[in-house]
């Protein structure tokens, strides 16, 4: 297993696509910070706008708010980046036919998949951490520029909150990443893994919004699917930006599941998708794809 993990890690690190996706996530995070800063700078002091909201936005850019705010953004960018990386690293094994070469060298397919999933998940975690560091750095620069630099807010509770919200991000994205892996195996291509997983994420939000509007027992179904639960974890922090975030879908119309409920449902789905991935790979024919 050590050898398999080592080669999976080597494949991930050497693949240009993975480097590019990581760079894009980091650049997007920094760009959002800079743009919001410039926008709020331009708006502040003008009479036309709502100065309260402008000040709210500005304060989320400061170091004190970085973890909740950056995590909210990572939830989106990191989620897309993670799905792209997982879907393509798994799907490519089929389009390149390397799944055949790999499973010849290690006939126990479950071992091949386990090494791959561990390596990819590690990549996602490291990617999210790098994104977080980039956000902290940008935010520190902005805070410094605003003359508000001060680390008084860092205490045990703050660190605990930060770690918890990072963990919530991992749980909230886990079922989507697992789904990307499953669809990559079933669809035997990167496109299938990426497009279908993103499609599910997008459509499910709309469909569950409609279901909740329908009311009655139908309205309760989304409590047991992905979108409402993932939102519930993303929006724990509250604040002006999470309100903006929630309004992008039908989010505000619905009753929001508790964090405990959300964690259980999301982990259940992640487990189900991963199990299905093992099952499919173990039974699959692997003919040469020209």
């Amino acid at each position: 297993m050590k050898a398999l993990l080592a080669i999976e890690a080597e494949k991930i690190v050497r693949r240009r696509l993975n480097q590019i996706v990581l760079a894009i996530v980091v650049v997007l995070l920094v760009v959002v910070y800079v743009l919001l800063w410039l926008a709020s700078d331009a708006l502040s002091g003008t009479s036309a706008s709502d100065q309260g909201t402008v000040e709210d936005i500005r304060s989320t850019l400061y170091l004190e708010e970085t973890v909740p705010f950056a995590i909210l953004m990572l939830y989106t960018f990191g989620f897309v980046g993670g799905v792209v990386v997982i879907g393509s690293n798994i799907g490519s094994e089929y389009t390149w036919n390397t799944i055949r070469t790999l499973t010849s060298a290690e006939p126990r397919r479950w071992r091949v998949l386990t090494a791959k999933l561990i390596a990819l998940w590690a990549l996602v975690v490291v990617g999210l951490l790098i994104g977080l560091v980039a956000a902290l750095t940008t935010s520190a620069a902005i805070t410094l520029a605003a003359g508000r630099f001060d680390l008084q807010f860092v205490d045990a509770a703050y660190i605990q909150d930060s770690v918890l919200s990072f963990l919530r991000t991992l749980v909230g994205t886990a079922p989507y990443f697992s789904l990307a892996a499953l669809l990559g195996v079933v669809g035997r291509s990167p496109t299938a893994g990426i497009a279908l997983a993103l499609g599910v994420a997008f459509l499910e939000g709309i469909v569950s919004g409609l279901m909740q509007l329908a009311g009655g027992w139908v309205a309760n179904i989304p409590l047991y699917t992905l979108d409402a639960n993932a939102d519930s974890l993303a929006l724990v922090e509250g604040g002006v930006l999470s309100d903006l975030y929630g309004q992008s879908g039908f989010g505000e119309a619905i009753q929001r599941p508790s964090v405990e409920h959300a964690v259980i449902v999301l982990l259940f789905w992640a487990f189900a998708f991963i199990s299905a991935t093992y099952w499919c790979l173990s039974r699959q024919d692997l003919p040469y794809e020209g």
Binding site: R16, W96, T101, S104, P107, R108, D285, L286
Partner: protein, 323 residues
């Protein structure tokens, strides 16, 4: 799973095997159905150690599917594959570790060099990196080994694929059209390489529709048609004719000679083929020659009218018509 309750073949399962000529590959009633298509239909094959078996057949006859099942890529619908005494279904890992192969095309990570691709495989298999240098030398990949696989030409890809098949020194090696895409020099090297690895005690199954290739490197062939083995045997036996003779004489003498021979009681038939006389007779070449000389007809050549593998192949596979 695939309970077929087939009779055990003697020797394939027993602990004590004779050191030479034991069965390395044994296929029993192997069948694969893709939906409506019956790709492989209950084939039976047995290949002994050191043997090179040719799998011949027209396009779509099931050669690649058979090899894919031997390599564990495709799950049989029914039947059994035993590799070096290990049942592929029940003892999958041991069976698959005893086989290496290249079926349909080679498969590597395009963004890594050929050498690094092989290093990875060696690492998974627990082999030293020197084993990689060895097989790279064997397939004559040269400088290309250190270039990215994505930029390889067809022939280089093929060579790397064969290198990967040989990397762990497997007992059984299956190759599907290994010379496709190779230049003439590469083709010749590959055709020399195959008998060499067989001489080292490896067993080779070679699928091809290049008849010359099979004739050159295989001792035995199985001819597939629509998923079924329609002929199997030693190449020499398939090619040997029915005892008739091919006689080269001057064109002006052809009609006279035909008349002379047909008048003899021991001669069954005389036909003219391609400017030669083809004689089917119960007597040998010298007796026929004597008959001709007595009539002042002189043959420049008399030889057995053997058949080419091509004519055997076409005769067998076209009989009954292909869909």
């Amino acid at each position: 799973m695939m309970a077929m309750n087939l009779p055990r073949s003697p020797g394939s399962d027993s602990g004590a095997r004779p050191a030479v000529h034991r069965t390395v590959l044994e296929i029993q009633a192997l069948t694969k159905r893709f939906g409506e298509v019956l790709a492989v239909d209950a084939i039976i094959l047995s290949v002994a150690q050191g043997e090179v078996l040719g799998l011949l057949g027209p396009n779509g006859s099931g050669k690649s599917t058979t090899l894919n099942m031997i390599l564990g890529f495709v799950r049989p619908t029914a039947g059994r594959v035993m590799i070096d005494g290990h049942d592929l279904e029940r003892d999958r890992r041991q069976a698959l570790l005893s086989v290496g192969g290249l079926v349909e095309g080679s498969a590597f990570y395009p963004y890594l060099t050929g050498r690094r691709n092989l290093w990875m495989l060696a690492r998974i298999r627990g082999l030293p990196r020197t084993s990689v240098d060895e097989v790279i030398g064997l397939v004559d990949l040269g400088q290309a080994a250190d270039r990215k696989f994505g930029g390889y030409s067809t022939g280089m890809r093929q060579r790397l694929g064969v290198a990967a098949a040989l990397l762990h020194d497997p007992k059984l090696i299956v190759l599907d059209e290994p010379t496709s895409g190779l230049d003439p020099a590469g083709t010749r090297e590959m055709r020399q390489l195959i008998p060499r690895i067989a001489a080292e005690g490896h067993t080779v199954v070679l699928a091809s529709h290049l008849l010359v290739e099979v004739e050159q490197v295989c001792q035995r062939v199985a001819i597939l048609k629509q998923g079924r083995i329609i002929a199997e045997g030693r190449v020499a036996d398939l090619l040997s004719g029915d005892g008739s003779l091919r006689i080269r004489i001057a064109e002006s003498d052809l009609a006279k000679a035909q008349g002379v021979l047909l008048s003899k009681p021991d001669v069954k038939s005389v036909t003219i083929d391609n400017g030669d006389l083809v004689v089917s007779a119960a007597i040998d070449g010298s007796a026929v020659n004597r008959m001709l000389v007595q009539e002042d007809i002189y043959a420049s050549r008399i030889e057995p009218a053997g058949r080419s593998l091509e004519s055997v192949f076409l005769e067998l596979t076209e009989a009954g018509g292909n869909p």
